[in-house]
């Protein structure tokens, strides 16, 4: 591998890492801060992708589809929290696993009924449908770079929200002692509803913005779910910064793993996770 290709692979790794962060960010909130084991995270991702496809073909614009989709999925998140998740905060994790696993089945079946089982494509917006030539036969799609930019903005936004705002302070307080916060007169129920809705919307947003790259197909959430949990576990449960660092680590490890040691490429991520867990059982970063 000469130097130019090394740099390109580095770019691939970072870009993939940022994409992973985008997909895992919603889980960081729901699992990391609320402590809810949300197996349906991948389903929200899939719902987002299908929404992007159907809304974009209705409105003719991906941007409009994303705006509309975010609103819809926030509502979906509020409704789910209000109807179902709310009943589980006091219960054992096993109940959350059961419920959210059930949601996976429900969402897959709904998807099949509403949208069918076909593979669909979402066109990249014309403005961004270019590629930048890198070598004589390889070029880099602009849309991927745009996504990377969006991911960085999102990471910054989440960091500011949690570390610097009053709402963030309440979220942090709620995640360390729910009862105490409640007795201080803060409406913790509302805050949890908000976080859950935000988490759902983030997962769906990832699916939407990623739809032109990934295509839209049944069971697309399944693969995403596992890697998201790996990101959150490596990064440290509840840490946005940790999730970002872990995403980049995984992106780089997978990219170079596939090229340098293809025989074990499928295991590299999990080896990395095992190593981190042995070295720091609590993950790379402690809370927040």
């Amino acid at each position: 591998m000469d130097f130019a290709f090394f740099l390109i692979q580095l770019l691939n790794g970072l870009q993939y890492g940022l994409l992973l962060f985008l997909v895992a960010s919603g889980l960081t909130l729901i699992f990391g801060i609320m402590g809810i084991i949300n197996l349906a995270h991948g389903s929200f991702y899939m719902v987002g992708a299908y929404l992007a496809w159907s809304l974009a073909s209705m409105t003719g614009s991906l941007a409009a589809a994303i705006l509309l989709g975010v609103v819809l999925t926030v509502l979906l998140g509020v409704a789910l929290e209000w109807l179902l998740i709310r009943r589980l905060y006091e219960r054992d994790h096993l109940y959350q696993v059961l419920l959210t696993y059930g949601l996976i089945l429900v969402f897959e079946e709904m998807r099949s009924i509403l949208w069918g089982d076909d593979v669909h494509g979402v066109p990249v917006p014309a403005l961004l449908a270019h590629s930048i030539p890198l070598t004589e036969n390889l070029s880099y799609p602009v849309y991927r770079l745009v996504i990377s930019g969006v991911c960085l903005l999102l990471a910054l936004g989440m960091y500011l929200l949690i570390a610097r705002t009053r709402l963030g302070m309440m979220i942090r307080a709620g995640s360390s002692n729910r009862d105490m916060v409640q007795s201080l007169g803060i409406n913790i129920r509302l805050i949890y509803t908000l976080i859950f809705a935000l988490g759902v919307a983030l997962a769906a947003f990832a699916g939407m913005i990623n739809a032109p790259l990934s295509s839209v197909f049944p069971n697309m959430g399944g693969g995403v779910l596992i890697i998201c949990f790996v990101v959150v576990v490596i990064g440290g449960i509840g840490s946005v910064k940790g999730a970002l660092v872990a995403s980049l680590l995984i992106g780089l490890a997978e990219t170079f793993g596939q090229v340098l040691v293809p025989e074990v490429a499928g295991m590299i991520v999990y080896l990395l996770m095992a190593a981190v867990l042995v070295w720091r059982p609590e993950g790379l970063f402690r809370k927040l």
Partner: protein, 401 residues
């Protein structure tokens, strides 16, 4: 005291329900068994996916099979057909149990299934033990008509090896001397890779690199960069469904399309052309079926299928249809007497199937000996360019039956 009473009640209740359940079971089973013996229907067990990713394939196969039966007046060898349907969910873990259900409980005469190779391998064990007649209308695992072959095991689709072996000739004819193969790291991908390698090297080509990505991951950027740095004459790929759509788009977006020609097993471009826009334009693939064969048989089949099901048929529908035709050939020969299995198998082995894909026969290991078409993506269709390999037979390595 009160809790004791409750416990007693529950035990009594359980005894009661058990007795009732037992009585109804005996009551319903006995006349059911009698009715079966008299009606004389042939019991066909359809073990296919009707939910999940492959649901559409399971439905296409079922439709094709039933169309073949309907065309014969709903009877094969003079006997009516009774269908017993099991959704295998493409779940290999449940395969032996599902196959057993059909064979032991429902006592089917023949099993038709399935799509997923892992499930097919799970079925194979049960089928080999019981000796039940099995027609596999899709799953391409080489083993089914290789090490696992048996007199009662038939396939009407393809072997993974077949789906890429013919590409060797295609690449040679188009002057490509080096190639890179890219696929998922799982059994089907590796078997297609091996088939291509054998075919390509026989023609003097050189497979310079095998690239694998973990199944079912769809992040290809690192491997596309690797391809750009290797600069082979051609890239050959096997992916399917959503993965195929993403690969075709990524290949084009990375600027490789038009610089390094892309080839593949036909599954790369089947069912995804609507999704990928013009990213697949010009991609050449080999498969045992194509969109524009324009033969008398194919046109008639496509018309009948579209009329009956209000759907366009695909390669899976053809494979299901041929499973029906193959069973018909066997049952006609023994006049519907499915108990004379040896004579029936002999007739099936000798059958010449007049298929929408073109006439085919069976190899010794019961896999189709068939023409592999060269297809090219033009617009939203896989247009046939000619026959890439005439009457290609799977080598059936490891088959001792």
């Amino acid at each position: 005291m009160s809790s004791n009473e409750k416990g007693f009640d529950r035990r009594e209740f359980l005894k009661g329900t058990a007795a009732v359940a037992g009585a109804t079971a005996v009551g319903t089973l006995a006349p059911f068994g009698l009715a079966q013996a008299q009606s004389g229907k042939i019991k066909v067990g359809l073990m296919l996916p009707y939910t999940g990713t492959y649901a559409a394939l399971g439905v296409a196969i079922t439709n094709g099979f039933k169309l073949a039966v309907e065309e014969r007046g709903g009877k094969l060898g003079g006997r009516e057909i009774e269908y017993i349907v099991v959704d295998d969910e493409s779940n290999p873990a449940k395969a032996p149990e599902n196959a057993n259900k059909l064979i032991q409980r429902d006592k089917v005469d023949v099993v038709i299934g399935t799509v997923h190779s892992g499930v097919a391998l799970g079925m194979a064990k049960v089928i080999r033990e019981t000796g039940t007649l099995w027609i596999n209308p899709n799953a391409g695992a080489d083993e089914v008509t290789g090490p696992l072959c048996a007199p009662n095991i038939f396939r009407t689709s393809f072997s993974n090896w077949q789906s890429t072996y013919a590409l060797g000739k295609v690449l040679k004819a188009e002057g490509r001397k080096t190639a890179v193969f890219i696929t998922w790291k799982y059994a089907a991908g590796e078997q297609m890779m091996a088939g291509f390698k054998e075919g390509f090297e026989k023609e003097g080509g050189k497979l310079v690199k095998e690239l694998y990505t973990p199944f079912p991951q769809v992040e290809f950027q690192a491997l596309l960069t690797e391809i750009a740095s290797i600069k082979p004459d051609a890239v050959v790929a096997f992916f399917a469904g959503g993965g195929a759509a993403k690969f075709l788009k990524d290949y084009a977006a990375a600027g490789l399309k038009g610089k390094i020609p892309l080839y593949g097993s036909g599954f790369l471009t089947d069912g995804v052309l609507e999704a990928v826009g013009d990213a697949a334009e010009g991609v050449e693939t080999t498969l045992h079926y194509a969109d524009s064969l324009n033969t008398k048989k194919d046109n008639a089949f496509r018309l009948a299928y579209a009329k009956t099901y209000k759907l366009q048929p695909d390669v899976y529908a053809v494979q299901g249809y041929d499973a029906g035709q193959l069973l018909a050939a066997g049952l006609d020969a023994v006049k519907g007497d499915i108990s004379s299995k040896a004579a029936m198998i002999k007739a099936m082995e000798a059958a010449k199937i007049d298929s929408p894909r073109g006439t085919w026969t069976l190899s010794k290991a019961h896999n189709p000996v068939q023409d592999m078409y060269l297809r090219k993506v033009v617009g939203k269709q896989n247009l046939v360019q000619g026959v890439a390999f005439k009457a290609l037979a799977d080598p059936a390595r490891g088959c001792k039956a």
